[in-house]
Symmetry: C2
Amino acid sequence: MLKRMPPAHKRTNDPERTKRDIIEVATQEFASEGYSGARVDAIAARTRTSKRMIYYYFGGKEQLYLAVLAEAYRNIRALEDQLDIERCDAREGLRRLIEATFDHDERNPNFIRLVSIENIHHGKHLKQNPQLRQLNASVITTLDRILARGRKEGVFRNDVDAVDLHLAISSYCFFRVANRHTFGALFDRDLSEPKVLAKSRTQIVEMILAWLGAKSTG
Amino acid sequence: MLKRMPPAHKRTNDPERTKRDIIEVATQEFASEGYSGARVDAIAARTRTSKRMIYYYFGGKEQLYLAVLAEAYRNIRALEDQLDIERCDAREGLRRLIEATFDHDERNPNFIRLVSIENIHHGKHLKQNPQLRQLNASVITTLDRILARGRKEGVFRNDVDAVDLHLAISSYCFFRVANRHTFGALFDRDLSEPKVLAKSRTQIVEMILAWLGAKSTG
DNA sequence: CTCATAATGTACGAACTAGTACGTTTAGGC
DNA sequence: GCCTAAACGTACTAGTTCGTACATTATGAG
């Protein structure tokens, strides 16, 4: 029988806080190092608790990552809620939604990085969690309504659907955060610099509006 | 003194082939698993040679990755060369360049994935290799010429520079390959499906042309 | 043919890493 | 106050993974 070290300090039980603490630290670590690059020990070390608790609450590294990913997706819900889109015309509504998407991606680089990481791993974890699909459906619904309104107003073409549109908007907003490092290195342009950022923000709006306002070809 | 197993078969020395072989297999492994997820032993196993040679020629895992990245960038040089852009008007030239970028990204998912991976690692390897910058500079030069011509022809706005334009084109083409998995899972649309792909290819061209043809605001 | 050097193969080891065995403490119901 | 279950801590292990020690073979120059 070995002599065990007694706990260093007095303990306080607080399961909710412990779980939140682990998720927060793990989000940092996974977003920064990737799934395989992340170290369970590194996460544990920066937690107010021990590695034991990661396994107690989450079961293992992969399930912890799953929880981190789910939490990240949950936190972005309904970015279009406070935009008051119904109150203005279609072009203005769309402008606000694009800017909200742009600002969201800019403000949440960890989320962007987690999505990139998830794609590196062929989206296999996301596919395991069907409920996350619903969280993103709302963007499509909103875009659908804006598109319908714009067509009725006669300012939008009708051969672009909501998912096409979301792809166009999202790709730009996502890329300029996700690929900041290589883009910056290759083209000498720091996309996070305020002036560059502001110009990009204007340009994606102009781009989408010009596109939807154009006559369809063919 | 231990008895060593004699080599299983007769050996053939072919350093160039060995190096190429290693790079090819390593490209697959890194692109598929990420930098940290890639296993040196896994690479060695799928090579016609042994792990020893990886260290002999490249020095280590990180340097091997560096070589893979450099090779991937080198292989994409001058995608705009055979487009005969100078022979047609600005809008047509730009259309061809956009389509070439689109097709290139579609055909080279491994390259796309390596760039994603490099960004996960904050671009630190790319930054170590300044000569790769020049390989990408040509796209900007080409875009610059097209833009100048278009302005002279009076069909392009003049407040969009070549790097802005490249960002717009590249983000779309890149994203739809890089984020295929999460996008497909969340929005039920398989971006690699031929019909969807063809529509996207048309749309990015329309988008960019509509944008550049629009009057500048403000 | 000889010999030096480049190229290669096999077996091994040190360090790292996810996960666990085992024991202790806290907290709340009664 | 007592008792049980949940919450927690420490030390350890088994397996993996990068890298290397050591030895051998091919090849081309002279």
